[in-house]
Amino acid sequence: MLKVEVRLFAYFREGREKKQIMELEEGTTISDVIKILDIDEKEVSIALLNGMDGPFHRELKDGDIIALFPPVGGG
């Protein structure tokens, strides 16, 4: 088992925890986390793994931080 922190932003927070620790099986990917949270992967514009762009298929490690954003912008 591994523990990761998942942070959600903008409307992904609606009906979900904005920050949570998830206990996951070894081999779980960002894509799996998105499914567990019942988020449509197509709506994930930016997925950060420890602050850098995280490929969806990357296997997670204990202590990883995932941040998921729908499309956002400004300036």
Binding site: A10, S45, I46, M52, D53, G73, G74, G75
Partner: protein, 607 residues
């Protein structure tokens, strides 16, 4: 004449004369209008090396060919002058309603010359132009001034300065519609020096459209694209530009405590999500804008006021280590009412806090003000903002900006500025391409004239590795030229969340005539950028000023996801100059100037 109104209004404040001159259509089209045309007028009419605060400097307010036209985001106008903050070209853009209303008076440009002997304001109603007494308005805030003029002249829109502009702060803004700002470069001080308090406009002129049917079709198509875009039609209208707080922070590029740190675990307290949940009263859209990112928020006492943009939330917030929306909203309101640039104001307070932390500023210097310079003191940040606006006590020194402040203590490296203008809310050590924009920007430290955050963080129009160097120089150049196009035709850069170069060609050609294609329109933007560079070279701001603060080049980021990185300007700058067609010293070559039709200005490359 299509798109353009065909008239330049020249106002000599010294002699109190006004004159209408015909717009040279060929010149207007070549430089597009607004920003490009304003810079051209500054080059041709203002002699080299004038003092920014002098009768010789001119203040130009200009609309673009599409300002006020029936296409989306057409509410923008530009202020162009020589900056008292930087000594370089000042190009400050604003939205709201004023720009479109100004265009309806039948003019494209106002050129203010000289200096009035006492406070005046200008009133334009179609062909009627009056220089009116403004003695009774001097000292009044933006809302007081606007309301007083609106009472006298029904149905006008008002552009004005607040007390900060009157008191010649080099970070004074020009305000319109009370809470919209042509913010950067101290344009408000130039207006204040000229004793010009306000410009009130109303008009009935219609813009001639080259092809009405096509314009309607093109406009509907672009509105649809923007509404369907997940950012322009989703993230931005829902959360405003404040939505950036979390994403910038999560990437580890949120400057904290004057760029000493680059990440904070308190960002959510000042995020767009929090603003929407607890402070948002309603949206506040600009003229013909389907995006509507502007906000009205409530102060602690419930008063509704214009809401802060992302950069403002950062400057008074994370940059000063303050995580309190009531304080940030209050600072933003003070800046709007008194007419100060929010980025430079907050960032100067942050620099002062670091100067205090490091022992340069002593307790006795600020004792009489009754305010601290300790990180995170929200009441102090509000208090200093007010004192800067009124130049009271130590606020008088702060009102000169962080560069002059830090230099006066023999510590200019603590000022996070480029060309003496405060850097905005992104640490370039984590966004290498964005650092190019900071370094080379003709108006000094600025994010908006080539927003590399789009590809490096937000994925527009494609996602780039934010730490990579390869290809960033060419990318930045394209963004700089495209932004010059958007500014100069009179549209909003936020329309790039959805629209691209061919869309701007479609809109310009439908309104003005079939003049440009993708290649030539982008080249017109390149012409504008190069002309600004030539203006700066003429004023002695050569490419040795294309640099970043030492901290960003030599001190690796200490925390967060960007930890360990510095900015690699030494590698990026030569590549940028090369793709620009400039020599290794960052000076446009003769061939480049000839290609862009700027051969008349060749003499300035030898300045």
């Amino acid at each position: 004449m299509n798109g353009y109104m065909g008239k330049i209004l020249r106002v000599n404040l010294t002699n109190r004369t006004t004159k209408v001159e015909p717009l040279d259509l060929e010149v207007a089209q070549k430089y597009l209008g607004s920003r490009g045309l304003g810079v051209k007028i500054m080059m041709d009419e203002v002699p080299a090396n004038v003092e920014p605060l002098s009768e010789e400097n001119k203040l130009i307010i200009a609309a673009g060919a599409l300002t006020g036209a029936p296409v989306p985001t057409s509410g923008r106008y530009m202020v162009i002058t020589k900056s008292p903050l930087t000594g370089a070209i000042a190009i400050a853009n604003s939205g709201g309603q004023w720009g479109a209303k100004f265009k309806a008076t039948g003019h494209d440009v106002i050129i203010f010359e000289g200096k009035a002997d006492k406070p005046v304001y200008l009133y334009i109603e179609d062909d009627k132009v009056e220089i009116r007494d403004a003695t009774y308005l001097w000292g009044k805030t933006a809302s007081e001034t606007t309301e007083a003029i609106e009472k006298e002249l029904e149905g006008v829109k008002v552009l004005c300065i607040g007390p900060a502009g009157e008191k010649l702060s080099p970070m004074a803004a020009i305000m319109n519609d009370i809470d919209r700002a042509a913010g950067r470069g101290g344009v408000g001080a130039v207006m204040g020096y000229k004793n010009l308090k306000a410009v009130a406009v109303k008009g009935t002129n219609k813009i001639n459209i080259f092809d009405e049917e096509r314009t309607k079709k093109v406009s509907q198509e672009k509105v649809k694209t923007l509404i369907e875009d997940p950012v322009a039609g989703g993230g931005l209208p829902t959360y405003g530009s404040a939505v950036l707080v979390n994403i910038i922070n999560e990437n580890g590029v949120m400057p904290v405590k004057n760029f000493q740190e680059s990440y904070t675990d308190k960002a959510d307290l000042i995020s767009g999500e929090t603003m929407t949940e607890k402070y948002l009263v309603r949206k506040n859209p600009c003229f013909r804008c389907p995006i509507a990112c502007g906000r009205i928020v409530k102060l602690a006492d419930g008063t509704p006021v214009g809401g802060p943009e992302y950069e403002t939330i950062w400057s008074f917030g994370a940059d000063c280590d303050v995580y309190d929306y009531d304080a940030i909203n209050e600072c933003n309101m003070i800046c709007n009412e008194y007419g100060l640039d929010t980025i430079s104001t907050g960032a100067t307070i942050a620099a002062a806090m670091e100067l205090y932390e490091k022992g340069y500023i002593k307790d006795e210097e600020i004792l009489a003000d009754g305010l601290s310079l300790k990180w995170g003191d929200k009441n102090a940040v509000v208090g200093w903002t007010k004192k800067m606006a009124l130049r009271e006590g130590f606020g008088d020194k702060l009102a000169e900006g962080s560069y002059r402040l830090a230099e006066s203590y023999g510590a200019p490296e603590i000022s996070m500025t480029v060309k003496k203008q405060e850097l905005p809310a992104y640490d370039p050590r984590g966004v290498q391409g964005h650092g190019i924009t900071y370094a080379v920007n003709n108006r000094g430290g600025c994010h908006i004239k080539g927003y590399m955050i789009n590809p490096e963080i937000l994925g527009y129009p494609e996602k780039l590795d934010r730490l990579a160097l390869e290809g960033k120089a060419a990318y930045a150049k394209t963004f700089h030229d495209l932004t010059a196009v958007i500014d100069s035709i009179g549209l909003c850069v936020f329309s790039t969340f959805g629209l691209g170069l061919p869309d701007y060609v479609d809109m310009y050609n439908a309104v003005c005539g079939d003049i440009y294609n993708d290649e030539t329109l982008l080249e017109a933007g390149e012409r504008v950028w190069n002309l600004e560079k030539l203006f700066n070279l003429r004023e002695g701001i050569d490419s040795s000023h294309d640099k970043l603060p030492k901290r960003l080049l030599e001190e690796p980021v200490v925390n967060g996801p960007t930890k360990g990185h510095v900015h690699h300007l030494d590698k990026l700058l030569p590549e940028y100059y090369a793709v620009r067609g400039w020599d290794e010293k960052g000076i446009p070559t003769e061939e480049t100037l000839e290609r862009l039709g700027l051969e008349a200005y060749k003499k300035y490359i030898n300045c």
